[in-house]
Symmetry: D2
Subunit: 464 residues, 4 copies
């Protein structure tokens, strides 16, 4: 069944799919309904193999069912579901129709639908995370590592409250995102590998399998081993919500870090600041009415994705509540997790594309810093006075800055003119004077720590 | 550009589109990217007409541009956007290519992109609400009105805290949803009709139009009149977020009412309660492993849609913040409003389908009530004792209920056996004794108010 | 029972109460537990009066109960509740103990707890809105009106995407907030006046009152009339959630507008922009380590309040779901609405305090504008060329801006040097040339519309 | 400064504080403003000690400052802040006033405010979690372990979709919460121990400390070691938001599990189900108008707390965005984390109190199960037929259940009457027949797994 792409309702399936078709296809391979059905069939196959391995079903059942499961086409299942109005029963019927009569009883044997669905989703999101999401994230981290190392000595004014504070380097700033995203990478990976499947039956007590299998827990373990995932330590009809919630929490946490970075990149492109710039193609249009505009629209887009997808974590929290041995009110909602996953990948990908081509204007950074250098010196001056024993250095310098503001004279010059400061200033070393005379040198451990962090994550994530 | 439906990522574009293709198509006509482009072209046409009407552009510009706008195909715009990377400039280029050279300057003349986008969205969501969402809601209200009138005398125990309280009628219960949904209908309608467009230019100050038009506000009014919407009283580059927020708030408020109803219907289908039942087709499967199951899955589905779509209102609130004359961080997010709108319609439609065929088991309702009738009488007994002057009637009856629980004897019988209550009981009228002897008569104004409410809404909404 | 303020857990009850004790006290008069109990007693008094007026209870019951209700002290109720574990029964007991034995039966007669609680809350939030919140909002709007009028001609560059676009005036910018907040004021007022009470008994069907009153709906109307609020058209045990939800939605919508304004004020104080400044006391400290810092901390505070209180609207939406004739899961949550209400008032108050003293640096605004003036001219140039019939004016000017960027020459100067533009430029009027030569004149309807909007709201809200 | 408790605005500081004063006091010791100031002073002391240990400050500075920090009274700081309008500068001034002049320069030396605040919060929430929250949670888990073991063989019908499914035991149900809460306990603990402090100065680059200390990272490590917390691997002015976010995520995840349990307990108390009951004191009132009511109000309360506090996690996610080296918009919001923490503890405590006294009605459980036993047998029958080779057992049994519904005859009896089933039924073992004749035996691994889980967590959490 085909459809014109632009007739779709979700922007994920029209606008944001044609923007990067190759990436979209890679996501669809895990997140679409086709993919979901493929993974369900995989679990039915794994169950058949485990049943045979445990001596419950004959060996041929394992073979036939595995083969049949591999041949299932989504359309068949959808067509059958129109009759049964039950998607897993439909899948089972489709598989059964592909095997010999004597093998049919062993299809889905002892399983409840949720055994198949939850195990399939655990596997599906685990593999999606490993094969699509984490590689995107790693590539972005790699881009940031490279830039951080390159810009580790590029002077930039530090900004707190939007006000010039004291200097850092632009590389140091970037290293912060390497650190946060690196940590996020590891936590996402851990959460994905901790997803759980189950084969514990209709209410989680292995009722059906206990009738026909010696050790139902061993059967469950074997199915999970076939799939390469872990079993839930205690399921009802469904796996406890917390494992998937943990993964989605890590997804949106990562999205929050991306949004923070995107937000900064937007602001650094403000006309008055202009420290970085998105690449602009010669034929590209910034505004339909203002021909001169060059907007930071890609970073704005990432922030918009954050606003779109962050609130969806609320749904996942709400799905923790499922009555007794389960109610179905988490069914539709859990299908929409695919959108959340796709949204996070789109943000990573866009951020990487635009950041790779980011124009860094070190000259503008230096110019902006210079405009405040005379005031910025207030902090090192206060620290140095205090270090020489001035009992009230902060207040003394604060008063100097007010005078500097009023008179326009540099703070250090004013300091030198004050008799009461003279005894302390006299004790400063040459090295310390250097910072007061040239506050651009006041970058502390910025360059050193940039290196430390980059090297740490190059090694942790095997970045080449 | 076509694609297999089940390759889509959003459940809206695969599973929940094939479930009801006719409804989905009706939504796509307003909510898809194709639809969005069609509405954008409509606004360009309206602008051209208004420019001509105001004597700014020649009459032929209005004609040619209107015609060209009507001929725009989404694929052309998408193809052009690949070059310009700006969707409105792409649309303008496509229209310009379809008109004579002397008319080209008047395409999009004085407008900024957001003039077109925001006006198109106001019109689009207004028409979607009027043509798709409200009819669905009205049909559901009609279904409930019919049931409420039919069941207005059907005794049901009232439940507070999940405990039997005092009786109502099932029709009265339903009338509550007629009232809440009727009110919601009117508020949605009002909010949709209050959506705003704009033609105020790049920063909202009519800078461009002021150069070439006598009264730019009149030009804006004329464009809006062409479209049948109102103008924003004060726009920046974009219309103030509050108008669309108000509509989306009304959407999710309605969804909350639907979810409340669905939740109750779930619980009334509990095995122990069994007062209503979803229709079950003979060939339908309830569980892949428990052949006897008949689950309230449609109502569960509606609750799940509520959990899925409610949190998305957070995005709309977050989009109230747009820096200075606007930042673009509401761009992607506002595209996803289409999903929210579709989710609400799906919930309405599903609820209507399943409620129309709802099996009401009046016998079960009566049986459940009967089980508590002996205790339920506690309230009327207390009220009647108090009305005859008993100074502490609530406490007296509360103690009787404890005794009734312990002994299993009916509360009224116990009351009659207490000498201190005798003087008060002696004053009761025959009518009042009737309620104590048959608590099923204790339904107050249930039937009367059911009629009042149903008639009110039949008339308000013109329900036939 | 007294307690050290700084031992409190909620910042509302320690830090943000001592910051403005007078305002806090005014809020406590409506939002505290003491206030809640006072309002509950008011409803009991109104019920007694209505019972007497309807001839159900004797006149002395109305008098005694009203008096007793007026004398209730919170501590009495709390003490009694320790016994009953039911707060309304506790209140009823306390009132009963203050009246003569023959009047005792009429206390709370025919009412269920929720009749009292919901009616009290409707009245309480209505009066809180009218007496505390709206006056704060009006004062802020007044401040903005005054500033907008004063600055209506103050040139400021318009910013979209954080980039210089075309000019507005600062007064025009402020008028936008007058418009949005004025609309919000009216919607809050409307929602507060539309709160509903009820006197429909345990399950909303007037079961108890039907036993003893001719027309229970008339009794309910009379109670509401005594209180000055409207009755719910259909209650279960509780008033439908949507009325209070509508008010809370308007509260947080207003908070979103405040946050947008605060956000802009933060950014306009960026070191590189410096167009406005918060008042800074001579003895005030900006940073504990950087003596020169002057941070926009008040506006940051308002944004932080928005982040704190906006998500709480989710709770109110979730409370739409109450099973059958009600479950109690909205009880604790609705008590916390007091925090949401207080948070909004704090934001209004803080914003007003700091905005009143805001330093506007018109010189900085002009300087920032000037830096881009040569590029800004691109829009009027394109519009004017198009108006004279140039078939591709936008593209022609876009190419000029690229050249301008490369060469540093002004766009207009470049335009004059292009032979192909000559025929169009030759047609420009003197007035039109004026804008090209001095883009500061390109402010469109900014000043005019500022006046229109301010005058509208001065009249609507009776601002003196 | 004292205040009447019931004048407070937050229910946390009035109603829910007097309900359990001892617990509230324990929370206040960590979560109040007084507590916050005490922890800030601790960090100042730790910094002084580390400065001395690193040879930067004299030993007497460490001693005097530690002593002074221990003597700081909140009121002093508040009073000083009224002047400085900066809370950390106020604290520093107060400490400085308590030490000798020559020690004064070393107070707060090289630190920025956020060094103190973030380190104090890390320590404060770590200790609050360890000393208050986790003990509450552990006590609740202990209660559940005890009940689960006691009820491990108590038959209960499993419920999916609110419909009777197949049986479990009530102890097995409880074991599920032992498992989920046990896991949550460990994750909360881990997140609390992973909170981070910092001593990296105004923009995180150790600018100030680099002027006067050999290795600023070593100084930071030493301060953290004094406090017993870890240092942030990369801070700006503030610690990365993700560490605190992780803890708050674990808090609300736990709250979701509690709410799920509370929800089930509500439903099991429905009049028609009646399998458990909250303890009801003899003098307790269930309803102010229905003297017979016994409501599950404590469990309803816990669900209400969940609705109140869950959405607040959105604030914590939103606080991930802080511009450049930080903006202050996370300041007020992070103060309100204290409310979220308190809300979670209140839910744990309430749940434990009421669950400890929970009345379990095994007889009602058995009665409810019995009502469906004839249908429940459908699953084991289908499984057993399939295990003997029936090619379409599910469908065969599904048809039987329809017949059973229509005729009222037991499913097993019908099965025996069908000739086509005879060959399969003939092969069943005595053990297998036992389950068909007495479905109460069909509880699978319920009892065994209950033991496994309880023993695991008794050992993991050292439950006595």
């Amino acid at each position: 069944m085909e459809r014109e792409i632009f007739a779709n309702i979700s922007p994920l399936d029209h606008r944001y799919s044609v923007g990067n078709e190759e990436l979209w296809q890679r996501m669809s391979d895990y997140l679409s309904e086709e993919a979901a059905i493929r993974y369900l069939a995989k679990v039915e196959a794994a169950l058949a193999k485990a049943l045979a391995a445990q001596g419950v079903a004959p060996e041929e059942a394992a073979e036939e069912i595995s083969r049949a499961a591999g041949e299932v086409r989504p359309e068949e299942v959808i067509a059958e579901e129109a009759k049964t109005r039950h998607n897993i029963r439909a899948l089972v019927n489709v598989i059964q129709a592909k095997v010999s009569p004597q093998v049919r009883p062993w299809v889905h044997f002892t399983a409840t639908s949720a055994d198949i669905i939850d195990s399939a989703n655990a596997l599906r999101y685990k593999e999606f995370t490993r094969d699509v999401l984490l590689p995107q994230l790693k590539e972005l981290i790699g881009t940031l590592v490279e830039m951080a190392q390159r810009e580790k000595d590029t002077l930039q004014v530090g900004r707190t409250h939007g006000q010039h504070a004291v200097p850092i380097t632009f590389g140091y700033y970037l290293a912060g995102y390497v650190q946060r995203l690196g940590t996020s990478y590891q936590r996402i990976q851990e959460a994905a590998e901790n997803l759980r499947g189950k084969m514990a039956g209709a209410v989680g007590a292995y009722n059906a399998s206990s009738l026909v299998v010696e050790d139902p827990l061993a059967l469950e373990e074997q199915v999970m081993a076939e799939l390469g995932i872990k079993a839930s330590p205690f399921a009802t009809q469904v796996v406890e919500a917390e494992y998937m919630l943990a993964l989605m929490h890590e997804y949106v946490t990562c999205l929050g870090i991306l949004a923070n970075f995107a937000d900064d990149m937007r602001h650094l492109q403000r006309t008055e600041i202009g420290e970085v710039g998105e690449y602009f193609a010669p034929e590209q249009v910034g505004s339909s009415t203002m021909p001169h505009k060059r907007n930071p629209w890609n970073y704005e887009h990432v922030k918009s994705l954050w606003k779109t997808f962050l609130p969806r974590i609320m749904t996942v929290y709400m799905d923790q509540i499922s009555e007794h041995q389960r109610d179905l009110s988490n069914s539709a909602s859990s299908r929409f997790l695919a959108e959340l996953a796709a949204g996070c990948v789109l943000a990573m990908n866009r951020l990487n594309q635009v950041t790779k081509k980011l124009r860094v204007d070190a000259e503008a950074m230096r110019r902006n810093f210079a405009a405040s250098a005379r005031m910025i010196v207030a902090e090192p001056l206060y620290i140095l006075l205090a270090s020489k024993g001035h009992p009230d250095a902060h207040e003394a310098v604060r008063v100097l800055t007010l005078e500097a503001e009023k008179t326009g004279r540099p703070v250090v010059e004013l300091a030198k003119s004050k008799a009461e400061l003279e005894p302390y200033l006299a004790q400063l070393t040459t090295e310390q004077w250097k910072v007061l005379e040239d506050p651009a040198a006041y970058t502390g451990q910025a360059a050193r720590k940039t290196e430390l962090i980059c090297n740490h994550w190059i090694s942790q994530l095997n970045i080449s």
